[in-house]
Symmetry: D2
């Protein structure tokens, strides 16, 4: 495999997850970028839209209809929700593997998905077949995946933080709290009022407290870890004047005494992209800026029975494009870290 | 009272709470600013350090030794912890009322105070006599206060958010969570590495998870509201790339069914500086920028038994200087809103 | 006049200049706010869109068709370019004075206006009649204005900086450079990609170097000051990751020796809203945040023949709504500073 | 050379240029990092201070006295001004090549240096011998350099922008203006008040208008390009609420007609790290974030005789550590781009 390059295509390359895929794949030693589609920007050199890519990406955007996506080994969907489900079957039928960075294939319970996303699903059978791409949870299934559902940004940070606790069964799974803070790039590159600099800058707010689309995705994952049908989760997302970064502050109630530091270090000992910090640490979002790392610290304030987990990722990397590349690496049997050997940008 | 102006002095006017007091008092209709002290800056016109005050504040900083603080009606201490307790008795003895914006008189249990602040208290008897200045909790006592302990910024946002719930006894007081986010001005104007623009900008982190000085202050207040000796509180502060603003996200477990919106509206119906937003709202920190307002929304996600309260203040106003002015107004029997009639600066 | 309140209406109150007018007029001692129009938001309480106004503004947006603007004493247009010119004549005919915060009446040469704004002007005769509202330049004409063209934000900062030099005739008027930096609120509250937080944050760029609409407005004003037909101006605007604030750095070549500091102090000695800083100063944008001040410093580096002027304003106040209120005060013969007695918000 | 790794040491690795060198050298294919010194942090693992380096840098800070810097092939000084000049001779004598990222060896005229830096120079003979490391200007001399003076951040952006114009002799060299804006990391990681988040955030100001240390460095370089003894330069630096990035806006007066776009493209045709953008472009600082690129656009507004050049770099990369690595590559005869193959981080 490593001798022949993986031919990769991207559908919807104009948003932030698209440009981030381009940043990573442009330097990936085993990938050849062959097509990037955008209906609205067809014909435009990608580097004209994103000057940061000048000298690295020489492709033009092509119309989806004209692009030879079927000749790719893998196609990434960096599209709005509901697009990938329309095009995936044709690609799979031609032997192309598909990685969807949107939510089309993340939730197994179709009625839940349809309620939260407000659409009828176009291919329920593919949902069943899709593999949820959180490598630290189910690397084995990812190896054989033909259709991969790449996790959301909040779900990645929250699930990795709760994983050791729920697998070990040491916290009350009925009262989980995920107080999560996201940088503004998490809302994408759409022109919207609430994400303008003069609205989101020097400002902090919660949103979607009544319900956010990532809630069912997180709950599904946590239940799986806890080996139960259902967990009780309160998830409160916040918009933060950061460009990149998610900080999840997680609260659980301990049901038994346990060496928390050891539990986390043990669980992630062999994970290249999860870094358990020394006891007493407070991870900063900038310590993972631009990289595929998740850094985690675990606390037990005043020795009480509340455990506090701090989990940070770059929402566009481990929370999107980087994790997609990591999944691709696993699916194609190459070094899981290929193309992801990046020192975070600090300051 | 309104015919004769209140003569006010400020000790330690070079920090952010000091300049904020100056901003408010300069336009206060019933106050005459007579002295601002700073040992290091004695002789310097205040407006040379803070050009924003040009044309409004004509005083120079004076050496504490030379300033006629004893001729004031009220002296504000905008000093580091441990300063006010050295100078308060002499002022009180001369009939000057004292408002301390630092922590010297906030905590009634001296052993707790000495543990968290790492000093021996200089005047335990005055601690007993001091009134904790959260007007929404104990306005009556404030009216007669000669020595007022102005609350901390986090404690103000957190206590106002939990107050209706704890007074009404509708949540489990043993499992309270206060996930709090503060702007960087909360750390003051000291030159420190971690609050540099290139460190705190585009970055988010928790700190002091193991224990923060505001924890005992908040716990003391919550216990009082709950009419109990002790509450169980997990308090996690976070440093946010905002200049001003605190957003407290509070979690409690409901022990009985209750109309939360009605409870909050009722409790704060007569409070000029607490604004309960309509059901479903998400207050933004900028909606109180520069003003003495606290805005609060209360949620019960998915109708479960977890209540989520969102509470925002400007840490330098309702969380410091504004509340100090509000307390002064109450202490001197003038209109509680005098000098605080400010429309927040948005955007 | 001061006994009866001025009835004021605002057309297009949903943008930043609109909400800023509301912030100022809500506390103006001589104004009664009677109508705010917005076609798209008719029926919505203003404070629902801008929670910062809760408790201060109790009006709802009304449809322009339904609102009794003709009963106002003054109507402010805080609308996109091209709207005021459609509605102004009818209001003037009914005796309503009009203050346009957009560009419809700023440029006397119609062919220039039509070229830069890409429209045919609807009422050339009113352009002639309109008074350009830079009080420091033509206060006398403003007193009698029925139709006032409120200056743009860049033009205010640049003109006030060059004014003393050009009036005194001490610089070469053929080689003027205005390197100007603006906060993002200057672009308004429209949803656009380039002003998103994730685009404009942690980023700096020039724009419009080939030509910007404020160029002819500034040139017209500078020529007037220099008492000449035409000046040679290079104007380069930059987008800066600030919410509010303009910093103009101006360069001119001295044609004669002159005491620059004295020249500036003399010229602005009686101006309440222009503050000439001591020699050697560097004004900060935050030193005028939220206020109607313009602060200026003048330098002559290394004693050479290049003069450097630093001029800062808050683009939404002295650069828009504040100057509009100042003009209204002058037009109605009341205290020029009424409603503008604001200490800048720092930090 | 490429078979044996270059042994590199860093003196003063705790500041921003130090950590940036570590970020770049940790992944450099031909470098082995052998020592990082810091007197104050001796014994501390580097990654404890900079968690972004966890997994990439395994060294501890060592005391300068104990570290085997003399065994290095090259030593980088990322120290305050005045340190390198004390230690360089001993290293050179042992055959170690030295790259100084501070200002000790940048200025040839010692009296000028001593005036601006306020010190007596410790080794005037080495100043003479030092090579100024702007590869686009003097690559040939760099190849043989044993002591390299790495340019300052402003000087890099300004010199690269003026270079084609001055070499071609098409502008008046007596009237050059460099209006320059820098991110706050340019001020280093020292704890200082004016670079605090709450001071520098949401704020913009000029500084050092009367004179800045980079002025003589830039003037020296521009004179060299113009092949003259002295140029007339007005240099105004500004502090901008960016973490990284410099944007230089340069103004010159054309003395002859010339195809500016062609001139720039021609001059930089073979330069890997200078990217001339298409005519009409406006480079953004983020388009070079984290990379060694300088991007330049050239304009002639309204076809007049003023030329405007826009030049952006990342002050910590092309303005410091990246250029130092580029110089090292040239000095050791390896691929000039080795270790600098980085796609800028956008957004």
């Amino acid at each position: 495999m490593q001798n022949k390059k993986i031919k990769a295509g991207i559908v919807g390359g104009t948003g932030y997850t698209g440009v981030e895929l381009l940043r990573l794949l442009a330097l990936h030693p085993h990938v050849e970028l062959v097509a990037i589609t955008s209906r609205s920007e067809a014909g435009l050199p990608v580097a004209d839209m994103y000057p940061s890519l000048r000298g690295y990406v020489h492709l033009k955007f092509t119309d989806p209809a004209d692009s030879a996506l079927q000749d790719c080994d893998v196609v990434f969907f960096a599209t709005p929700n509901g697009v990938a489900m329309q095009q995936t079957r044709a690609l799979l039928d031609q032997g192309v593997r598909v990685i969807d960075l949107a939510a089309d294939f993340r939730i197994k319970d179709l009625s839940v998905w349809e309620k939260w996303y407000g659409m009828t699903h176009a291919c329920p059978d593919l949902v069943e077949q899709a593999v949820y791409g959180l490598p630290e949870l189910n690397r084995e299934q990812i190896k054989d995946a033909r259709l991969l559902a790449n996790p959301g940004c909040y779900p990645t940070a929250v699930q990795l933080g709760f994983l050791p606790l729920l697998e070990a069964g040491v916290i009350d799974r009925d009262y989980l709290i995920a107080d999560s803070k996201s940088g503004v790039s998490g809302a994408g590159r759409k022109a919207e009022t609430h994400t303008l600099f003069a609205e989101a800058g020097d400002n902090f707010k919660a949103y979607g407290v009544a319900g956010h689309r990532h809630l069912p995705e997180i709950s599904q994952g946590l239940a799986l870890m806890a080996n139960t049908a259902k967990v009780g989760l309160t998830f409160v997302p916040h918009l933060t004047p950061l460009i990149r970064g998610i900080h999840a502050t997680l609260y659980g109630r301990l049901t038994q005494d346990v060496d928390l530091q050891h539990l986390f270090e043990q669980r992630y000992a062999n994970e290249a992209f999860v870094d358990v910090l020394p006891a007493g640490s407070h991870p900063e979002t900038r310590s993972v800026r631009g990289s595929n790392q998740c850094r985690i610290a675990v606390h037990r304030p005043q020795g009480g029975d509340t455990v506090v987990v701090l989990s940070v990722i770059d929402n566009l990397v481990k929370g999107a494009a980087g994790q997609a590349v990591q999944n691709m690496n696993i699916m194609f049997g190459i070094d899981e870290q290929a193309g992801l050997n990046i020192v975070p940008l600090l300051p």
